[in-house]
């Protein structure tokens, strides 16, 4: 390998007759005057000037090539390899053309690749194209990870990529970008597994119900368990919002997250909601108001009071009269109804039946808390939750600073997939302001964000700008590539490669490294509960169903179409499964179609029977 052509202080071309270059590999240029200069391959080409692309030159037939070979000259051996190498630090002078080039030893590049070790960092994968350094790498860096490629598990042959978790103190936030199927969720899973290794309290919002760590990955030989390191909690089932703890702003946020609030509805809350209200007392007050508003006047309410059949009823109408007199002017009927409807919806989701104590308890012992629920519910809940947790942490730190007493609350990480849903660009969304606040001030308080999204272009730009490290997976959409160009220090050679990255291959652009690393996420230790191909799943399900049904009916065949009602009754009696005649006929003809049974027509109608062997 030699430096060829015109050189500069920043870049050189390197040519080789026998070694194909790989992007992002390190090479050392041995300049006679300046000593060793470390560089990284940013472009790689192979070239054979006798096998030209353009048809302008003569196309050489094989027999001529054979003759040349017999004469001692093999044209295919004339292929040369050329790479463009960028120096990590600018050289003092342009490099001497003709300088030799060699592959570095691990020790010479270690500092550019590893800022931590397995014990203290997040071992996320391998750095691509570093095989040449594997052999003389310290053993502590070997055999740390597997990668999973083309359907098989591959032992580590490259330098590991270990992210220094302590550097998050300085560079707190991480973005994970990439198109559909590029490996974001898988990558997040690996990040989370590593976070669990360190017992860092973490909240993950999981709208897809995919972040469960109880199933060991099927391809993995070793036994690794994350039991007791995480919990999955569902909004409305195990966790929720304690209504009594809500301030009126919290309530507005909640309801607004559920469905947008008008000014007049906001006003209704200002007027009607009182601190320490229970869900019941608040709902009652609104109920009283709307019922009296439906009557329309004090006179009509008085009529009801007078005609009340018992004491209780009278008292109730008296109460309604007071509410009416006090609030009718300021609260419009429709707006109150609107609030009631929204509140009811959240109540039905179970949001108010639980609190966030379970979350806090698990965080206090350093667990990863997976919060599951549909996207809408998560938006509502996370707004409340994050405000709550962040302010607890903040009060603790502030108290510490002011030397006053306060309950300990640990630093924590907030993780979410589909982040553009939580903090969209261009319009307001309830969770956005808290995420923005954390992104801007979280560093001070030890609160960190890991935000993944398919659409970086749709993510709030203030937040994007605060993401100090970025994992960039395959991205095809031009607008997203453009955003990535603007928001990261990826070179144009690198962004040009984005559409062609393999699933799981990633550019990691991190402020703490000061450069971009091309890596591959390691094989995860655990598996998402539903990684099964949805089409396989459908097929399997319907097969199962068919087999079950066949078991049920096979002893009852043959059966005439006129006997369907009896068959249905029989099945219901024996198996406690209800079929209408119509359903049963459909099911039977599906069985015929799938070849389980056969159908014959005769003058009495249709007859379903077993297929004889």
């Amino acid at each position: 390998m030699k430096v060829v052509g015109i050189t500069t202080q920043q870049e050189v071309f390197i040519g080789s007759k026998d070694r194909n270059f790989r992007i992002n590999e390190f090479l050392i240029v041995e300049d006679i005057n300046q000593g060793d200069i470390l560089g990284e391959v940013i472009e790689a080409h192979t070239f054979n000037r006798y096998i030209p692309l353009d048809t302008g030159r003569d196309f050489v037939d094989d027999s001529v090539l054979e003759s040349l070979k017999a004469l001692g000259y093999a044209i295919d051996e004339e292929t040369i390899y050329i790479s463009k190498v960028r120096f990590l630090n600018e050289a003092n002078y342009p490099v001497e053309t003709g300088s030799s080039v060699r592959i570095p030893k691990f020790s010479e590049v270690k500092d550019f690749m590893l800022k931590s070790d397995d014990e203290n960092g997040l071992t996320l994968g391998v750095i691509r194209n570093t095989n040449d350094m594997y052999e003389d790498m310290d053993t502590e860096y070997k055999d740390l990870v597997y990668t999973f490629e083309d359907g098989s598990l591959i032992e580590q042959r490259e330098v590991p990529y270990i992210m220094d978790i302590r550097s998050m103190h300085q560079y707190p936030h991480i973005g994970v970008f990439g198109g559909s199927g590029s490996g974001k969720s898988f990558g997040l899973r690996v990040v989370l597994e590593e976070i669990m290794k360190h017992n860092v309290p973490t909240i993950i919002l999981d709208p897809h119900f995919e972040m469960d760590f109880s199933a060991k990955a099927s391809y993995l030989p070793d036994e690794i368990s994350y039991e007791n390191k995480f919990v999955c909690l569902q909004v409305g089932k195990q966790v929720g919002v304690k209504f009594e703890d809500l301030a009126s702003q919290d309530l507005k946020n909640l309801l607004d997250a559920s469905s947008h609030l008008t000014d007049s509805m906001n006003n209704v809350i200002d007027v009607l909601f009182r601190n320490r209200d229970s869900l019941y007392s608040f709902q009652n007050r609104m109920n009283d108001l709307t019922e009296s508003q439906e009557l329309g006047s004090v006179d009509k309410i008085l009529d009801r009071i007078n005609s009340a059949s018992n004491d209780e009823e009278r008292k109730a109408w008296q109460r309604k009269k007071e509410v009416f007199e006090k609030y009718d002017k300021t609260c419009s009927y429709n707006s109150v109804k609107g609030i009631m409807w929204r509140l009811k919806r959240l109540e039905n989701d179970g949001v108010f039946s639980k609190d966030i104590k379970a979350i806090e308890d698990n965080m206090q012992v350093g667990r990863l808390v997976v919060i599951q629920g549909n996207t809408r519910l998560l938006q509502v809940f996370s707004t409340y939750l994050l405000n709550n947790l962040y302010h607890k942490r903040r009060s603790y730190k502030d108290a510490l600073y002011n030397k006053t007493a306060s309950e300990y609350f640990p630093p924590f990480i907030v993780v979410t997939d589909e982040a553009h849903n939580f903090a969209p660009k261009g319009y307001d969304s309830p969770a956005k302001s808290i995420l923005k606040e954390i992104s801007q001030e979280g560093r001070k308080y030890g609160t960190f964000l890991i935000l993944a999204t398919q659409r970086p272009t749709l993510l709030d730009e203030t937040i994007t700008a605060q993401l100090n490290s970025k994992f960039i997976f395959r991205t095809v959409r031009a607008s997203d590539i453009q955003t990535i160009k603007e928001e990261t220090d990826l070179t144009s050679e690198e962004t040009n490669r984005l559409p062609y990255l393999r699933t799981g291959d990633v550019f990691i652009s991190s402020a703490s490294m000061g450069r971009t690393i091309y890596g591959r996420i390691r094989a995860a230790h655990t598996e998402s509960p539903h990684t099964e191909n949805p089409f396989d799943e459908l097929k399997k399900k319907s097969q199962e169903k068919n087999i079950n049904f066949f078991e049920i009916i096979k002893d009852k065949l043959p059966v005439m179409s006129t006997d369907m009602i009896n068959l249905a009754m029989e099945i219901e009696r024996e198996e406690e499964i209800r079929f209408t005649v119509e359903n049963l006929e459909m099911k039977l003809s599906e069985m015929v179609e799938k070849g389980y049974i056969k159908k014959e027509e005769n003058f009495l109608g249709q007859k379903y029977s077993l297929i004889e062997e």
Partner: protein, 317 residues
């Protein structure tokens, strides 16, 4: 423009009409009876190539010249001649030369006319080509040296050096041939004129264009004074291209001509201009790229000299 071209076409047709209309077979008959037989060459076997390799391989020789700078005398010409062996482990032999008219003491050539400078340029190029061939012949002892171009050029431009090359090759039993892409002879044309078949002299390339089949060739014994006793030539169609190439061989080796023609035929890609691939390869390697030249100049000339003499005023703007 269209009219002018049409008119030109008509005039060419009128002047050369009887040549253009000459039947392929009639011309062949004429050649066979007045110039010499038409031969058919055949490509060598693989064993033959392996044997050539054992005997020392083939060396291709070619030269290139690049100019940097502006109008005369403010330019410098870079000359390079390369002798390259088909044998892998054999090092290339290279001779570099530069020439600039500003170094001509009394500026005689400059003041005379551009034709003189042109001659000088050809002479330097021819000379280093022959020199690199001599060097290769002495040091590498190949089976064959294949020059790019006709021997006539060397005889005119650098006779004594050429004769040294010829002598070395004869002494060392190295075959020496030249391959000519643009033949400029008019041997058949002269004969036609002489015998009154035409009333103007035609070049052989015009006459033979498309009239030989692939692999056919004729041998020319010339009576030209400068060439007499020095060389023998063949004219051949070596590829699907209708063009004819020439092959020169020194007279003392003319017994090997048909073997050489076969070899050239075998080394020429079917769909090419007709030049053996080895010369094409040497040709592309001997060229100095513009960037390289610039880099050389910038690194080895004082910037004062470089700027003053060799930067075109145009590119400064």
């Amino acid at each position: 423009m269209e009219n002018k071209l049409k008119k030109f076409n008509d005039e060419v047709k009128k002047s050369y009409g009887n040549i253009l209309n000459l039947e392929k077979n009639n011309l062949k008959n004429f050649i066979a009876s007045n110039i010499g037989p038409i031969y058919k060459s055949s490509k060598p076997s693989k064993e033959a190539y392996l044997n050539y390799e054992k005997l020392g391989g083939i060396i291709g020789v070619d030269g290139s010249v690049n100019r940097k700078g502006g109008a005369s005398p403010h330019y410098v010409d870079f000359f390079r001649a390369l002798a390259k062996s088909t044998k892998k482990q054999v090092e290339d032999r290279i001779i570099n030369e530069i020439y600039s008219p500003i170094l001509d003491k009394d500026m005689k050539l400059v003041l005379e006319d551009d034709g003189e400078l042109e001659n000088k340029r050809n002479q330097i190029l021819s000379k280093i080509e022959v020199e690199v061939a001599i060097d290769a012949a002495k040091e590498l002892k190949p089976f064959l040296i294949m020059m790019d171009g006709t021997f006539i050029r060397y005889i005119i431009d650098c006779k004594s050096t050429w004769e040294e090359l010829r002598d070395v090759c004869e002494r060392e039993k190295i075959l020496l041939i030249g391959v000519i892409e643009d033949i400029k002879t008019h041997i058949i044309g002269s004969k036609l004129l002489e015998m009154g078949y035409t009333d103007r002299l035609s070049y052989d390339r015009e006459l033979l264009f498309g009239r030989l089949d692939v692999g056919e060739y004729i041998v020319i014994e010339d009576s030209d004074k400068t060439r007499a006793g020095q060389l023998t030539s063949a004219l051949m169609r070596s590829s699907n291209n209708p063009n004819i190439i020439g092959i020169d061989i020194i007279d003392t080796q003319r017994g090997r001509l048909s073997e050489m023609v076969d070899l050239i035929f075998g080394l020429t890609p079917e769909n090419s201009r007709g030049v053996p691939i080895w010369l094409d390869i040497v040709d592309s390697e001997v060229k100095i790229s513009h960037n390289t030249m610039e880099a050389y100049l910038e690194s080895y000339l004082d910037s004062e000299i470089y700027e003053r003499y060799f930067v075109e005023t145009r590119s400064k703007r």
